[in-house]
């Protein structure tokens, strides 16, 4: 049962990852002597002589390329090719040497304007694409999805290199002959190259790869059915089965009848769970207590000894129902007799008690942060807790102490964990998977 502290329910449980900031301008603190940078830190001019391999004027962006996404991209426009047009665009890492062109050192990449070659830290370069000069706009990007570094010229893709992309990588430019001058674009202006289209293509490629995975059509139905069974949504299940042409067998109260498969466990005590859920939905908490005492006296006793959840939740829910009915005096009496004893046994429970009691303070509790307690969604959670309790009394369950989970939940946990682990092993690259955002219809719930 999740605890909600103060600010209440629907949606503040999202763990927002910190916003990753992208580079916005050139980093003047690590650039060398051979460059002069404009005041807006977006233009660079070479002031050296360009005589040897160590008087390059190279400079990085002020931050590394953000990696919690599918693509990163930036551009550079050559304002003046100077004597030899040795301007370069690419990426470098933390071991950046500002007197060397990007691409000359290991784990750096550079597309060089004078020979049109791609340097990627291997010493010699591969012939790659066209040279570029005054008036040309070239771009460099990282495709985390495909694990490649790619380059563009004047809005057209030139090519790329596939590699295990080792982040962090910094967008970097290099100049090496007198009078060379360039201007960078970190996104403050529209790009010459249609990055959005590439991003769309990458998403589409992944979507297709997933869609092509074979899946037996019956699997979906089984999972949905087992979900409905697990949570005791009896009427829905009956309608679902009827529509599928199956007959729904009425279950009898015989907890010892069922075997070990998950489906059998999901069917355990279905009638009881259905009835209990309905009682909660109707606000009849006394009814819930009565049935639980009748059916599970022993387990309830154990619960009481561990000062545990179910009893506590039910008392709180009874209190909430009284508040809903406007019977505030009765609510206060109830709080004094039944809720007060719970104070001090657990900080989580105390917080919850505070939230519940706070309802008394307002004339219109529906308009306060505690309003979530009065919504149907909250009573659903109480019903789920009771459902889990009943399922846990199933004698054929292994004594692991874990509350039983629906198959669907396990599958979604596995999906989330696999994608998270994949990101970790990729050095944190790629979009963060968010089931919640996918279900809200976002295209960027990503993976």
């Amino acid at each position: 049962m999740q605890r909600r502290v103060g600010g209440g329910g629907d949606g503040e449980m999202e763990e927002e990852e910190e916003e990753e900031e992208a580079p916005t301008h050139l980093n003047t603190s690590t650039c060398g002597h051979f460059l002069v940078i404009s005041t807006d830190k977006l233009c660079a001019k070479y002031t050296g002589e360009g005589l040897h391999g160590n008087d390059v004027g190279a400079i990085q962006g002020n931050r590394p390329a953000p990696c919690r996404r599918l693509l990163y991209y930036f551009e550079m426009t050559v304002k003046d090719r100077g004597f030899k047009g040795c301007t370069t665009i690419g990426f470098t890492d933390d071991h950046f040497r500002n007197s060397r062109q990007p691409g000359w050192e290991p784990n750096t990449y550079g597309y060089h304007g004078d020979d049109g070659k791609l340097y990627h830290g291997q010493g010699k370069a591969d012939s790659f694409g066209p040279t570029f000069s005054t008036g040309d706009t070239v771009g460099a990007g990282i495709n985390y999805g495909a694990q490649e570094i790619f380059f563009t010229k004047n809005g057209k893709l030139v090519g790329g290199t596939f590699n295990d992309v080792k982040t962090p990588l910094y967008p970097t430019i290099g100049l090496h002959s007198p009078n060379e001058k360039v201007e960078v674009n970190f996104g403050q202006r529209p790009f010459a190259y249609d990055v959005e289209a590439q991003l769309k293509k990458e998403r589409e490629r992944r979507r297709k790869a997933v869609e092509n995975v074979p899946l037996s059509p019956n699997v979906n139905h089984s999972i949905v059915r087992s979900y409905l069974l697990h949570f005791g949504y009896h009427d829905t299940l009956a309608a679902f089965d009827a529509a599928n042409g199956g007959s729904f067998p009425p279950m009898l109260f015989t907890p010892h009848e069922y075997g070990n498969g998950t489906l059998d466990n999901d069917m355990f005590a279905l009638d009881q769970r259905k009835m209990l859920r309905r009682l909660v939905r109707d606000g009849n908490i006394d009814g819930v207590f009565a049935k639980l005492r009748e059916w599970y006296p022993q387990q309830l006793q154990q619960q009481q000894e561990h000062c545990s959840n179910i009893i506590f939740l039910l008392h709180c829910q009874k209190f909430i129902e009284l508040v809903k009915l406007g019977m505030l005096e009765a609510a206060v009496t109830y709080a004094r007799t039944e809720l007060a004893p719970f104070f001090g046994s657990s900080p989580d429970q105390d917080l919850h008690l505070q939230d519940c009691l706070a309802l008394l303070a307002y004339e219109r509790p529906h308009e306060t942060p505690m309003a979530y307690l009065l919504h149907f969604g909250y009573s659903e959670l109480v019903a789920d807790a009771i459902n889990a309790f009943v399922l846990s009394t199933n004698p054929s369950l292994p004594a692991s102490g874990k509350s039983p989970q629906s198959g669907l939940e396990k599958l979604l946990q596995q999906l989330t964990a696999c994608l998270a682990e994949k990101r970790v092993l990729n050095g944190g690259q790629g979009e963060v998977f968010s089931l919640h955002r996918i279900l809200q219809g976002g295209k960027e719930g990503g993976w």
Binding site: T161, D164, V210, S222, I223, L228, L411, K422
Partner: protein
């Protein structure tokens, strides 16, 4: 696009024990309301009207489209599944005439289905007339349509349609195909995604596991229905 270099990936895999993995799993919080939404989305997209209504009552989950529109859509789908194609066309035009107007391929497939039903019921003359008047003009506009038309008309040449090369056209699955295409078009026209999200997520799980297999050894789930964790393969 010119590709320069491909470096082989390193081959050592990270090993994750079942215990470690179960701990990671337990740290993933899946919200009940998200799962409810997923199930509701499935019921609605697949057309389980009654089940969706009951689910709304029992779980408090709001369906993402008006349940009334599902009934209409299901009526159309059923009509095709029963071979009542003319009826289906009328119904879908009542719902939204633009659907067929903007979907020439769909409309052709519906007409093709009509032809198949005429042939199935042995109405040879009507079938030929229909093919010549309604389908042939479409075939002239589009080569793919023409091929389909020729395949369908070929049915008439065989007495033993069950064993002829184009016999599959008479199969129930052909009706299902047409029905699904129509269902998808209606959903799209209602700005609803035509595919339920659940199968995509399950496929994503299989895909994610295959991808992770390249870099780590960990407990997989191979049996989706029972969602059991396997022992990690070393």
């Amino acid at each position: 696009m010119r590709v320069c270099v491909i470096y082989p990936k390193s081959s050592s895999k990270k090993v994750i024990t079942k215990e470690e993995w179960e701990k990671k799993l337990s740290e993933v919080k899946i919200r009940k309301e998200d799962m409810n939404k997923l199930v509701m989305n499935f019921l609605v997209t697949e057309g389980y009207v009654e089940a969706a209504e009951k689910f709304q009552m029992e779980s408090g989950t709001q369906p993402d489209i008006d349940l009334g529109t599902i009934t209409d859509r299901m009526a159309v789908r059923k009509a095709v599944q029963c071979g009542q194609v003319e009826d289906a066309i009328e119904k879908v035009n009542d719902l939204n005439p633009e659907i067929l107007d903007t979907n020439p391929q769909l409309f052709f497939h519906l007409q093709q289905q009509r032809l198949i039903e005429l042939i199935r019921s042995g109405q040879v003359e009507e079938a030929l007339e229909f093919a010549q008047e309604e389908l042939a003009p479409r075939g002239e506009e589009n080569h793919a349509f023409l091929e389909e038309l020729e395949r369908t008309v070929a049915l008439l040449a065989f007495e033993d349609t069950a064993n002829c090369p184009v016999g599959e056209l008479l199969d129930i699955s052909q009706r299902q195909k047409t029905a699904s295409e129509l269902n998808a078009a209606i959903l799209t026209s209602q700005s609803h995604e035509k595919d339920p999200k659940l199968p995509s997520l399950l496929k994503m799980l299989i895909w994610a596991q295959n991808q992770l297999d390249e870099k780590a050894s960990y407990p997989r789930i191979n049996d989706l229905v029972n969602a059991t964790l396997e022992e990690p393969v070393t």
